[in-house]
């Protein structure tokens, strides 16, 4: 009961602070601008709609984590610093209600903002250039929302586990760098350490699992299915030694691993990974929060 009260209040606050509207505005503006610039340089009118989808997915890798971390990193520690937590706790809210209420509230904010924002920006693309496939569009918007919820979990977890705004901010920026830059390189490093060589065109299946365990990797895996293989890593670290001149067909996941695709490389497993990122960091944050003096 009180968990839903906390979630509802948090959501209302976010709406009142126009946070949702700000995110939607920035999302639409940013995406629209980049898309127009990029599309004007592309030719072949038939592929334009799908190119818009691909570009949206590509940019979401950076934009969605950024937005979710900004929206979530102060969720708990903000109330802790302002002292409103001390007031909340004297009413029948437990620390558990507060952390998970915040998680639900902020997740709803992010889900709605990203859902509306990405729908609007794709609508703009449809009107200006060409209509992408409706099924793929819906799928991509769904995966963007799920991706946003996963990073909200990371943000709320960070927020619950620290006592100062500075630490929350440092951890939020740190996690962004880790997931966007370090993770893939580390996966390649682990692969090199185990097998003796950097990953090439054909690799062991578990290498892809390593990459997909990060929320960014899991999102890339799911979204890739909706943009016909156009989705690459946002920052190419160049640690995979793939020969020049390989066709997109050769680079498909099923052709790079030996034998049948294991269950952990399916899309639903990547979906579960995102759900886990939405919950597990918040649970860790709660455990630390429940033991600390506020």
């Amino acid at each position: 009961m009180t968990l839903s009260q906390v979630a509802q209040k948090d959501f209302e606050d976010a709406v009142r602070s126009r946070m949702v509207w700000g995110i939607i505005g920035v999302f639409v503006g940013f995406m629209g601008f980049v898309m127009l610039v990029a599309l004007s340089a592309t030719d072949g009118a038939d592929a334009l709609g799908d190119a818009a989808l691909g570009l949206t997915a590509q940019l979401s890798q950076l934009f969605v984590p950024l937005v979710a971390l900004v929206v979530g990193y102060m969720a708990v520690v903000g109330e802790r610093r302002s002292g409103s937590l001390r007031v909340l706790l004297t009413y029948p809210h437990s620390r558990r209600d507060i952390v998970f209420g915040k998680l639900f509230g902020r997740s709803a904010v992010i889900a709605i903002a990203l859902g509306v924002g990405s729908t609007l920006s794709l609508l703009v693309a449809t009107m200006l250039v060409a209509a992408p496939d409706i099924g793929n569009t819906t799928g991509l918007i769904g995966s963007i929302v799920l991706f946003g919820v996963a990073f909200t979990g990371v943000a709320v977890g960070i927020s619950a586990s620290v006592g100062t705004r500075g630490r929350a901010m440092a951890l939020a920026i740190g996690s962004l760098l880790v997931f966007l830059l370090v993770w893939d390189a580390a996966a390649a490093g682990v692969y090199a350490a185990v097998t003796g060589s950097l990953p090439g065109l054909e690799v062991e299946a578990w290498y892809f699992l390593l990459k997909r365990l990060s929320p960014v990797g899991a999102f890339r895996a799911i979204a890739d299915g909706f943009v016909s293989g156009r989705l690459g890593s946002l920052f190419q670290v160049g640690l995979e030694q793939i020969p020049q001149g390989t066709t997109p067909e050769q680079r498909r996941l099923a052709n790079r691993v030996p034998g049948a695709l294991p269950f952990y490389l399916t899309n639903w497993f990547a979906g579960l990974t995102l759900v886990a990122w939405g919950v597990v960091p918040a649970v860790f944050g709660y455990v630390r929060f429940s033991q600390s003096d506020i």
Partner: protein, 327 residues
Amino acid sequence: MVAIRTRGLSKRYSGGLFGSDVTAVSDLDLTVERGEVYGFLGPNGAGKSTTIDMLLNYSYPTEGTVEIFGENIQENPEVIDRRVGVVPEGYGLYDRLSGRRNLEFAIEWQNASDDPAHLLARVGLDADDADRPVGDYSKGMTQRLALAMALVDDPDLLVLDEPSSGLDPNGIRRLRDIIREEASDGTTVFFSSHVLSQVEAVCDRVGILDDGELVAVDTVAGLRETAGASSTLTLTMENPPSPDVVRSDGVSAVDVRGKQLRVTCADARAKAEIIARLVERGHNPIDVGSEEASLSEIFGDYVRGGSAHDDGETATERNTPQQEVAT
């Protein structure tokens, strides 16, 4: 029935790798009876807020237990939610929302049926102010609102950490009235202060905390007696009579300086009798002044371990209202 009981309550902060540990509260055994008004007194940094934080589960003791209405709060934290109203130290309200909305949230959270207008009137926050956002409030107005929120659902125990800070004299008087009303209603009130006159005015009992330890617990009168504090009657007269005229049982010293007759009484009740006796014998005073030994000097004795209260120099600062203990 006991409202608050702590046993061996201690809080130590680790000094880290190179620092030394700091003990904020040490082996505190505190008992607050049901229905009493208990003043928790001590200089800043004595450990009052640390203790209150542990009473409310904001922070956890290194050792010891806290029971509220007989329930161990670490096992049953709900007892705080249900029965305790709090104005904590360093609290914050929702700045963007109006005072009334903040209060309505408190009522809704507590699942209570209080009338916001009634609570606002009790703490003296008028309707116009209640509709403004809390971010625009002065410290005193915020404090009144926080008190209104603590009174939601008629708590059995009211815990107030420095409730008078930021209040004007009017607000302080109202706070005192509210504390008295609540107490007569059977509510236990536990409040901390470093402003002595407030503790003195409303408390049934006072506990003095110094450097994390409870150095004295007694009634205000009892503390006064223990410390041997006395009260002084100063009579200004055209022709002061011989000191022998006023000497009696309750009088410990008589001193004549020019037109002033200073009578030090061990028992404050002796004063009226002295005046009556003087008037009866035709020595009409031009002016009568009376000084009560305040808690301030008694307090000074306990926290500094000295006995500086008996010399003439401290007498001038004895009854300064609102006097604060050195920090």
